[in-house]
């Protein structure tokens, strides 16, 4: 038997096992940790499926932004609620539906890969056949960010009194992350990379910056929401240009497509980064009044 097959079997088995653990374990902290690990293993699975774009996005999101969101979930103290065991009917339905659609859609996608402009089937599905989905997903993120911004104005305050370890960490990590984000963005035109991955990395840089007291990295309020929204607007404008000039929605003239795409991706990167950072920080913040109660030792 080929050694690669053994490796793939172990990888798939690991992913399924960790997912099952994340779902079935009772303690919330344990399930959250298992889910974070699941993110890493999923990134490896994407890598093994020869989809480096998605692997990079999964690594950036699962490690950085999702990690930031869930770390606060690890911390929240609430009285434990009894977990009621229900029959896993929705789970079974989901698996069945997934298997059925895979049987139909798989060959359909594979047959049309040649027309998609990309040679790899997974990338073609994610970035071409469902490009409208991508636009809508980004719009959802922006809307969530606007909501987060409303909360963030009161709850997210710049941190003060930062210890030297954090300052040192920020001074090393943030420049590297900025460079990495720019590189991923620029490389995205010819290699795996692009706005989403670059935005996720930049969001992590913003989160670290805020937590380590770096000025101007606290995304909140109307400024943050505006930055996030501009990215989506540019994407939509670019998409509208197509039908406005007699073509199809989201169609680009090859002559200036390259430069236009890069410009839009740059703006999208900043928008995504600010949106993700806002959501992570706002979701993890506490009421200022509750914070005082907690530090005085009173039971919340």
């Amino acid at each position: 038997m080929n050694a690669w097959v053994i490796l793939d079997a172990v990888l798939v088995g690991a992913v399924v096992l960790v997912a099952a653990v994340a779902v079935l374990v009772r303690s919330r902290a344990a399930a959250t940790s298992a889910f974070l690990v699941f993110g890493i293993l999923l990134a490896l699975l994407w890598a093994r499926l020869q989809a480096p774009d998605v692997a990079m996005a999964e690594a950036a999101l699962g490690g950085g932004v999702a990690g930031a969101l869930l770390a606060d979930a690890l911390e929240r103290r609430r009285p434990p609620r009894p977990v009621r065991r229900r029959a896993p009917v929705p789970l079974i339905l989901a698996i069945a539906a997934g298997a059925a659609s895979a049987a139909e859609l798989g060959p359909l996608a594979r047959d049309n890969v040649a027309d998609s402009g990309v040679s790899h089937p997974i990338t073609a599905v994610l970035l071409n056949f469902r490009s409208l989905d991508t636009l809508l997903e980004i719009a959802v993120v922006v809307i969530a960010a606007v909501g987060a911004g409303a909360i963030a104005r009161e709850r997210v305050q710049p941190e003060r009194g930062i210890d030297p370890i954090r300052r040192a960490l920020a001074s090393i990590l943030i420049p590297i992350l900025l460079l990495l984000s720019g590189w991923i963005l620029a490389a995205g035109s010819t290699q795996p990379g692009g706005a989403f991955q670059a935005g996720a990395v930049l969001a992590a840089a913003l989160i670290i910056g805020h937590l380590c007291g770096v000025p101007f990295t606290t995304p909140r309020g109307r400024g943050g929401a505006a930055l996030a929204g501009i990215g989506v607007l540019c994407f939509v404008v670019l998409g509208v240009v197509g039908p406005a000039t007699g073509g199809v929605w989201l169609q680009l003239d090859p002559a200036w497509a390259g430069a236009a795409i890069l410009a839009v991706e740059a703006v999208l990167t900043i928008g995504i980064a600010v949106a993700l950072a806002m959501i992570s920080l706002a979701a993890g913040s506490r009421d200022a009044s509750r914070r005082d109660d907690a530090s005085r030792g009173a039971t919340p």
Binding site: R26, S27, R28, A29, A30, R77, P79, P80, I165, R166, A168, L169, I172, L173, I176, A294, S295, G297, A298, T299, P300
Partner: protein, 116 residues
């Protein structure tokens, strides 16, 4: 040929250190010892693997090999910096809980694990 042997030896040594670090994480009795195992053994394992891959790439093709070597060294350096900071932050956080028992309401031991 001799390069292959060196590369394989370094790869296996690095993997052995990774296994050692993981075993330490599982078997050591408390947080500081576990942190120590992860921080030291894993980073050494990563370093050995990185060196092995650098030798392999340069032996195969020197010109792009230098750029790849730099990238791999960056991975290792970031791992070192990150792990050092992480260990300090985690250990300090745990100590803060131990030395301030009056803040038990915010204790780190997960309450849900204690509930019946």
């Amino acid at each position: 040929m001799i390069v292959d042997v060196v590369v394989i030896a370094l790869l296996l040594a690095g993997t052995a250190f990774f296994v050692a670090g993981t075993v330490g994480l599982l078997r050591f009795p408390d947080l500081p010892t576990r942190l120590h195992a992860v921080a030291k053994a894993d980073n050494l394992g990563l370093g050995l693997i990185v060196v092995a891959l650098i030798i392999d790439e340069i032996a195969r093709d020197p010109a792009p090999g230098a750029g790849i070597a730099l990238k791999l060294l960056l991975v290792w350096t970031l791992a070192l910096v990150g792990t050092a900071a992480n260990s300090h932050l985690l250990a300090g956080h745990a100590r803060a809980d131990e030395t301030a028992p009056e803040r038990a309401a915010d204790a780190t031991v997960d309450r849900e694990d204690e509930a019946p």
